[in-house]
């Protein structure tokens, strides 16, 4: 159960045993959500700064709840209410926050590599809460925790990740993690949304939803950003949803009866998922959100907690 890293930046840099350590730690913390008094002293006296340069409700709230349940002092810093709006550079903001001695900085940023930049500039621990189209490691961890609870294992599972792979940090983090854990990954979507050379990351590529979802254990649907039409990547949401939207009918015809439907949120209802699928029996979307808090508690404890606190 070794954890020696200062930061959690990518799934790519972790090995399988580190990933399992993170998932196990999160699982051990899940029961806190069921307590009447949701507070443990693991991070009492520690300061966590949520540094969010991109809009996020789910992830920021999840980190905030996780920090507060662990008794840390949590400060939210959003770019729109801060000196970033006055033109302060990212590196200057980082140096200023560093001067206030936080223990952990959780960063969300629209630029790939933003968390690496912070990790180079700051002595405290950095958690990547999503950087550009690069990685979103805590999302992958909560996906893994959800999958293991339902399927009981990782090894040998087959997963289809469907949609805008090119712009998805969720897809990248999951691809790295799932490959290391012995899972088979197929990415599927129109060719304009599949990044070139993605096969070299060890995944299969499909351009037909019906083929991609056949016989898989998990279907992970990705959000289609509305602005993707602008770059000429797809003709219309209407056409996209017709060919790439997951409906009960397509599931019944092509997928296994015990398949899990996952989505990192927020869902574009009626685009990538029909409402019946999003709310249906296959869907574990809200489980993912619940497990997100446990995962973030686990990450914060491993990075900032003392060894004794981890037993709390």
């Amino acid at each position: 159960m070794g954890w020696t890293r200062k930061d959690l930046l990518t799934m790519r840099e972790l090995d399988a045993s580190e990933i399992v350590t993170l998932v196990d730690t999160a699982q051990s913390l899940e029961e806190i959500a069921t307590r009447e008094i949701k507070k443990v002293p693991a991070l009492r006296g520690k300061t966590i700064v949520n540094l969010f340069y991109e809009n996020s409700t789910r992830t920021r709230t999840s980190f905030e709840i996780a920090g507060k349940w662990l008794s840390a002092d949590v400060i939210n810093f959003s770019a729109s209410g801060s000196s970033a709006a006055k033109g302060e550079s990212f590196v200057d903001t980082a140096k200023n926050i560093e001067a206030m001695s936080p223990d952990v900085v959780v960063v969300r940023h629209s630029s790939s590599g933003a968390s690496e930049i912070l990790a180079r500039q700051m002595r405290c621990s950095i958690v990547n809460a999503g950087d550009g189209c690069h990685e979103h490691p805590t999302q992958a961890l909560l996906d893994l925790l959800t999958i293991r609870e339902r399927k009981g294992r990782f090894e040998g599972l087959q997963v289809a990740i469907v949609g805008d792979i090119a712009h998805s940090r969720v897809a990248r983090s999951n691809i790295h993690a799932m490959r290391k854990l012995g899972m088979t990954v197929t990415v599927a979507g129109p060719p304009t949304l599949i990044p070139p050379f993605v096969g070299e990351l060890g995944v299969k590529v499909s351009h037909k939803l019906e083929d991609a979802i056949r016989d898989v254990d998990v279907i992970m649907m990705l959000r289609l950003q509305n602005e993707r039409m602008d770059g000429g990547l797809i003709p219309s949401l209407r056409e996209y949803s017709r060919y790439w939207g997951l409906t009960l009918d397509k599931l019944a015809k092509h997928a296994r009866p015990d398949v899990l439907i996952m989505h990192p949120g927020p869902v574009n209802r009626g685009v990538e998922l029909s409402p019946e699928v999003a709310d249906g029996p296959y869907s574990v979307i809200l489980d993912q959100v619940a497990k997100g808090v446990a995962v973030r508690m686990g990450v914060l404890i491993l990075l900032a907690g003392s060894k004794a606190a981890a037993q709390a």
Binding site: C133, E135, P195, E200
Partner: protein, 423 residues
Amino acid sequence: MKKTTILKGGRVIDPANGVDAVQDIVITDGRIAAAGPAPKGAEIIDVAGKVVCPGFIDIHVHFREPGFEYKETVGTGTRAAAAGGFTAVACMANTQPVNDNRSITDYILARAKYEGVVRVYPIGAVTKGLEGKQLSEMAELAEAGCVAFSDDGKCVMDANLYRRAMEYTLPFGTPIISHAEDCNLSHGGAMNEGVVSTELGLPAQSALAEDVMVARDILLAELTGAHVHIAHISTAGAVRLVREAKARGVRVTSEVTPHHLVLTDGAVRSFDPNTKMAPPLRSKRDVEAVLEGLSDGTIDCIATDHAPHATSEKEGEFDHSAFGIVGLETAVSVLLDRLVKPGIVPLTTIIKRLTADPARLLNLPGGSLTAGAAADITVLDLDAEITVQPLKFRSKSRNTPFAGWKLTGAPIMTIVDGAVVTV
């Protein structure tokens, strides 16, 4: 009384004259003297064990003056050049105001006269304001001293206007230098499109953005008969296109930067903005292709594309950082250590691509040690061991991907008009 200096005992490599031999170089009144007995009282500089070659010429630098003096000036840029072994540079037109009219050319030449320590040749803009809409006054720019025309940093997307530019400049004998990038295809890409960009999730541009434009410019050169020079060639496709065009007799030439010869897009994994430039670092296959092109002559010369930027422009988010890196003070050591020492490219080829070839391309004096020529000379120590220390650069800027690199081989003396330049 004439002033005479003798560079004694060095290995002289002068590709223009086919010389590679240990001999003395005699400089009289700033010019290379004909072989013969040296007069008494001459100053002797002992260069035994060192390599003596014509002064290096870099036909692609950005000195940022006027307009961006916080990045670089003609004074600091020429000092960086001299420190890196270059005795002459050609500076691009993307200053503020743009070098698209005679007064700016005059200003740059005046700065060079007062503050410069090496020769400075301005390059004029092809279009006014680099906007790609209207030709700049190229006849007068040529008369004022511009040695070539380029909208470098931007690409003239209007093929018809570019054709007219080539035709218009035919009488001056000045080449058009192409920054070959189809900006629709490159689409703001911050790095090369490939497996690394897929992994990093950075906006990327395909090598095709360069290939397509090189193909277009070759066809335009063929149509007009103009000399088109492809700046900073970086893709296997572009090298193939230039090779084929040269075989057909098209007047197309090309240059490559040291960084495109020794780095791949794998370097971007650091997210260090000092690995970001245009064109971007390419794949291993592309690097092999430009090395082959440099050896077989498809690529005519080496140029640094010295592009200084302030630290604040090169330390933040990769996709928001400026394109470009400095190169003058690292180029020669990088080439000697990474290409000559391992035997990938012969020393004489590297020296030719830094001397006789660039002089030929832009019709510049220099590039040889022919008797009677101005004594512009670079002395190399192939055994010098250096560590790249950006804080010690003469350039105002420190944006290099080579910081901390330990390299063997370095320029140790730069001579312009017979005088050793101190920087």
